[in-house]
């Protein structure tokens, strides 16, 4: 596998924010997820839970609830506004003041014609969904006390509203409250505190299920307004409820970090009457509050204060064990890993880290010593934070780039792009903002510099790429590269070739466009593969292009402009990848190359990095995949017969970036999950046995 000098970077103290709300669109199989900082992420559940899009947050925006209407995504928050998102340009389309104080919840009816919001002032407001806009329709009867949660009966005639100490059932046509369900308060000291009905669910048989702050999940008869059953599930709050599509199961998320499943079961077998809601399974995948929950066809998706998204498959829905039936935890937004920029200009290895609110520029440490494998080398120069650049305005940074020479730095928010000139000499660093930017450059989804730093590429709307020429004094708009396919999806990956001839851009439609930079026009589209590319790279010397997809497939092309796969890639496709490789649950986030050895490609995901040596035989299903330990125990003569193309190293964990510098040293950026957990607020107190 070779020996490397490794820069183990652990000073990137990125902190993901808590998950607040979630909405699943069963039609498109997309999950929308809102975080506390107002950012929205879209996951594609048909494509290995790949995070397709991220809409960056904004300081003034807070999202309490998300809601899909057809393919449109709406959110409502405590700022009192309803917003609709433009999923093609990754920005809010418009926002609308609802005039009801802070909004706690937003729902749509099954027909997709109306939206209902629950406001702090006790009103339930109905909005009509129009082609391009939404319009206020009317209020339902105003109540005393805030409306925390809402649920629409599938027929559309009734709405259940969770409030303080009670649940109201509204008749939608008349707008009057028809039922008043009083929710008991907690026991003991919490008797004096109001019970908050955090979540309600209205089932088609007029059963209302509620989860409240006294730790109860209650089942009510919506016709008569009587309590059917109470399940006391926790000492703390039940924060979220979600009903499966066939209404045979309800899941509840609690403050203890547990997700509790209830199933609608007949007491005796072979009999379908007298079914009851019975508490069945308990899943504990979180340490903190479960704030958002969705039960989809085959899995339970949960997220909360501990910032990671958990997809817990329901094993009974799978016929056999496969990669889809394994538990999946998604820890970092993909965009964070994608926006760690490394420049290896001469000896000054610079690292650019992107936070939602700032950029950090670090210089790597240096050491002259040599040691045995596994040794820690003493540092001659410590890693150093050169620069902290705070963003301007309310919008969060969505992408950033550092040129490979280390002379240019650029970042973009949804509203503006900024380019800076960096000058480093003798440990002094100076930064100057490039003042005059071309008008066409107002926002970018992805930024990228050419290898000679003479050009900058900015991914713009409708998959187009702006080419900006950079000179010492100014930057000038050159051209807009447009794809022929007419795709409107945003570009999420861009890379240039070392000779400056080619630019490859991948969008969410799984297309990779290759542009000829000399002729400034589209050259070709790489054969479309069914899964979204999660990382790609072009070899600096041989122009060998490697694309890794969300389904872990690895494709290589001899050069970006040749529309076919290499022989190695064909062989790999024919033989198939090893099951262990396919069963990994995090996508590959970076591809880098060894400039000395054109056969070697370095890939990494969160839990490992891998050097693919194309000169070695491919592993078949029977060979041991993780064979580094075995190889070490073998003698020199036996070793070659056991080698295979995938050499995997698991020494480093929670990887965000692995890159190879020119001097054959490896930069490994880790963000230990333990460090994230330790920065979270303390979870609710739980009695632990034997403490």
């Amino acid at each position: 596998m070779g020996e490397f000098k490794v820069h183990r970077v652990r000073f990137f103290d990125y902190m993901p924010t808590a998950i607040r709300a979630m909405a699943f669109n069963a039609h498109t199989e997309r999950l929308a997820l809102a975080r506390m900082d107002g950012s929205v992420e879209i996951f594609n559940f048909t494509d290995h839970y790949f995070q397709e899009k991220v809409i960056p947050g904004k300081d003034s925006r807070s999202i309490e609830s998300l809601c899909w209407v057809g393919g449109r995504l709406f959110s409502a928050g405590l700022n009192g506004e309803i917003a609709e998102y433009d999923l093609e340009n990754l920005r809010p389309k418009y926002s609308l003041e609802a005039y009801g104080g802070p909004i706690w919840t937003i729902i749509s009816n099954t027909q997709g014609t109306q939206l209902a919001i629950g406001c702090e002032d006790g009103t339930v407001k109905l909005f009509e969904v129009l082609e391009e806009h939404i319009q206020f329709e009317r209020n339902l009867d105003r109540q005393k006390g805030r409306i925390i949660s809402l649920s629409w009966h599938p027929s559309g005639t009734h709405i259940a509203a969770g409030m303080m100490d009670m649940i109201r059932v509204f008749d939608v046509p008349t707008g009057h409250a028809v039922q008043r369900l009083l929710v008991d308060r907690g026991f003991g000291g919490s008797k004096s505190r109001e019970t908050v009905v955090w979540s309600v669910a209205f089932l088609s048989d007029h059963t209302v299920v509620s989860g409240d702050s006294a730790g109860k999940v209650q089942v009510w008869d919506g016709h008569t307004g009587t309590l059917v059953k109470t399940h006391l599930v926790t000492k703390w709050d039940v924060l979220a409820l979600s009903v499966s599509k066939d209404e045979s199961s309800v899941v509840a998320g609690t403050s203890e970090g547990t997700v509790i499943q209830f199933q609608f079961i007949a007491p005796t077998l072979h009999q379908q009457q007298d079914k009851e809601w019975v508490r069945t399974r308990t899943f504990k995948n979180h340490t903190h509050d479960v704030r958002a929950l969705a039960e989809i066809e085959t899995a339970i998706v949960s997220g909360g204060m501990d910032t990671h998204l958990v997809v817990r498959p329901l094993l009974e829905k799978f016929d056999e064990k496969s990669h889809a039936s394994g538990l999946r935890k998604i820890h970092f937004p993909h965009v964070i890993a994608n926006n760690i920029n490394l420049s290896c200009a001469k000896k000054a290895g610079l690292l650019l880290f992107q936070f939602p609110g700032q950029l950090e520029l670090w210089r790597l440490g240096d050491s002259d010593e040599h040691g045995k494998p596994g040794d820690r080398l003493p540092l001659k120069r410590k890693p150093e934070k050169l620069l902290l650049l705070k963003r301007k305005g309310e919008d969060h940074i969505c992408c950033s780039a550092l040129s490979s020479c280390g002379g240019w730095l650029a970042y973009s928010t949804v509203s503006s792009v900024r380019i800076y000139r960096l000058q480093t000499d003798n440990n002094n660093i100076s930064i100057t903002k490039v003042s005059k930017l071309p008008k066409a450059l107002h926002s970018a989804h992805q930024l990228c510099f050419s290898s000679d730093s003479s050009k900058m590429f900015a991914a713009s709307s409708q998959s187009s790429v702006l080419v900006i020429a950079l000179t010492q004094s100014e930057c000038k708009y050159v051209h807009t590269l447009k794809p022929k396919s007419g795709s409107r999806q945003p570009i999420h990956l861009m890379t240039t070739s070392g000779d400056g001839k080619w630019l490859a851009a991948a969008n969410s439609d799984c297309e990779i466009h290759v542009y000829n930079l000399q002729k400034l026009k589209l050259h070709c589209i790489v054969p479309v593969y069914g899964s979204c590319p999660s990382a790609m790279g072009i070899h600096p010397t041989t122009n060998n292009m490697t694309v890794v997809h969300a389904d872990q497939q690895v494709n290589t092309m001899p050069s970006p402009h040749i529309k076919q796969y290499t022989d190695w890639s064909r062989k790999l496709q024919k033989q198939g990848l090893h099951n262990v490789w396919l069963d990994r649950d995090t996508p590959v986030t970076h591809v880098t190359f060894n400039s000395k050895n054109p056969n070697q490609v370095v890939l990494h995901d969160m839990h490992m990095f891998c050097i693919i040596d194309q000169s070695l035989p491919l592993p078949d299903q029977k060979t041991q995949f993780y064979n580094q330990m075995t190889l070490r125990s073998l003698s020199e003569q036996e070793r070659p017969s056991h080698l295979h193309a995938f050499k995997i190293c698991k020494t480093f964990q929670d990887l965000l970036c692995v890159s190879l510098l020119d001097d054959q040293s490896l930069v490994v950026v880790e963000r230990p999950l333990l460090a994230i957990t330790s920065q979270l607020p303390a979870p609710v107190r739980q009695k632990k046995f034997a403490t």
Binding site: L232, V278, R281, E316
Partner: protein
Amino acid sequence: MVAHGEIHVVHRGGNKINFRETVITNDSRFLLCASGESVKVYSSSSEECVHDLQGHTDLVSGIVRNPSNHLQVYSCSADGTVRLWDFTDGILIKTFIIGYPIYSIYISENHGGVVFVVVPMANDKSSELFQLVAVHLPLSGDQEVEARELSAVLCDVSPSGAASFGRKGEYIAAVKGLQLEVFFFKKQKSHRFFLKSGNKKGAKNAFTCVSCHPKEDCIATGHEDGKIRLWRNFNQKKEYTYSTLHWHHGAVNTLQFTPEGTNLLSGGIESVLVQWHYTQENQKDFLPRLGGAITHIAVSPDGSLFCTSHSDNKITIIQSCVKVSAIIQGLVKGEGVRTDLTIDPRSKALVLNGKPGHLQFYSLHRDKLLYNLDIVQQEYIHEEGLDQFEVVKAAFDTRGNWLATVEERTQKGSELEINLKLWAYDEQTQSFMLNTTVTAPHEDQITAMCFSPSPETTMLVTISFDGHFKAWLLADHSDTKEGACWSCDFVGGYHHLKPGCCCFSADGSLLAVGFQEVVTVWSPSWELLTTLSQPPGAIRDLCFGRLSCSKYLLGTSTKNQLCCWNLLTCSLEWSTPVDVSLLQADPLSENMAAFCSQSGCSDLFVFKPGEPRPLYSQKALCTGKVQRAVFAPRDQMLESCEEHAQWLNRSQLYFFTQHMDLMTFSTKTEEDRLLASSKRLMVDDSVAVTPFYLLLGKHRQQQEALTNPMAERIQLPQGSIAIKELLYTPAHVLPSASFLCSMFVRSLLISSSSASEEKEPVEEEMESEEEDSEGEAELRDARQDLGGSAAWGPGEELGAPALTKAQERELRRVKHFDHSWLSSVLEC
């Protein structure tokens, strides 16, 4: 196990009563539990054993109520039979012969005429695989019926208690390992559910027990990590579901739904009975501090009475989950007997360590725990890996006035803590009171201790690995208020060798201490009289001969040597190369019992020290090494005439096998007597209390008194001063045998006077039947004769006259019987 025709090795007393789930009868009056080879019927209110249902010839492995008759139970046993009993009268109704060893039995009222038993897989009897088979019980009037109509239901089940019938007997659920299998009888199809073995997050998913809800389709399973899972929708292969309850921190040993299904009871190592409210699972009630880990729970059919079996051989009866109403305690057998087996001279109870930190007094004759004596007097804390004080030694003095105990605690990385405690018997409270505590009596483990049997001094000798032996004397501080207390009198040693065993001669005049390969013999004034050794091999056991053989000292060494030294000549009398693991002397005769371990089995030799020829030997007594043994004096002396059974006449030899089974030797006559007494008991019960019955009963009592003339304590012929002198003089100071002989003969001549002295109390008893007293006196003579000669030499030919006497007596009794019967009728 049978050898020598009529001496059997039997389980008698001290059986496990927690082996299988107990059964509570429909009226909750009786409690049935499997106890060794019999089924015991206890009264649930008085805790007394009402009947002992005997008939099985191997371990009883299960009891179930007969659903069609509430006065009957089925029991199954490893002897391959299922027996139907009437437990109120203790009558065996029927025996069904299955032909395979049976490990559990299940029954359902919806499957009439069928019992479900667990037998080994038919193809391979020695294998560890078991199957559940349905047995159709043939309808036949015969006492013994062969039931050969077997049909397999489930393959590969666990041999004990891990199956349960579901609602209306529609299905049976069984667990083993990581698998739950549900067999539906209607569809003749089984569903299997597997759990992951994953040890992640400390989860140990293996199933331990199962119970089915009686009214709903819900199966509760217990798991090794303390979880309880409630399975529903289990008729579907994929859509099944379960919920998890977790309170226990150790494995859930047992689960039981109440008959109405409103509650689920669970128990485990925590010795807390947990009552879960079905459908309101977060509400649960606890009944804590039940003593030992709960192994089984039984619920009475009306749900009012619970019954928990515990790992310390105890059954607790609980009324409606709030109150412990009764406790039936068997012999507590932990992982091992740390203290030797001893017999309390007062109560004749077997004494050994029982509950942690306690000594238990167990009456072998009544098969009942008398009481526990708290030795350590510290709270016992249930926690794994916690070292606590344990009672490791106990010894009584000859009269039972003093009890000495040693407790120790070994902690890793710290010093050994030892306490020696001396307890005095208090007549008022009828129990032992702590008199003296000696902390750290020795610097290392105490390996043995014994009281001096001499009547003059009360002395205790302890020996320890620290190379010393210490003598402790009861010093009388009459001036102070505290009274007598114990103090160290002498510290002895021998060349810094580590002593391993010690023994006092029968009169207390000699103390032998084995220092590795050397036996040192000490006088009461602590002079080293002599040393004996027979290398190679360290001395393992030492024993002085008794009575006529008191001049001999026996020792066993680790290098397979059994040596007998003559103390008069201080030379080796004989030695044989046997690997004696345990040497035990009968306190009432000169017999010695030696247990030898040979090729995984234990052999027994009974011999007299005088001659290296065994009186009795039995090969392959049991598998494994015999751990502990003791001679327990009999209540009533046996009168066995056969030569090889005579050693059992005065005392009974009890021993513990490797698997902690208490076994003993029993002769045919003894068994016949037991059988007779149980039969008589049976008839007694059936007769109503009428004036006629009372008359009959009075008469029968008299008759019993006659048939058992040995009912009073056997008294050694100590009335004669000459014999007493003879017996209590140390062997090595006795004059030559020829001199003694004439003295002994003379003593026999004056024996008639002593007999008449003794006769007086007897006459008081026998006032009503004067015509018989003459014969009685004669009989007494004969016995005296017997005792005297037994004390002297091998009384082999004495059996014959005794027999004729017995026959005469029999004849006389028959005569007397008729006469008194007539007279009593006339009186009426």
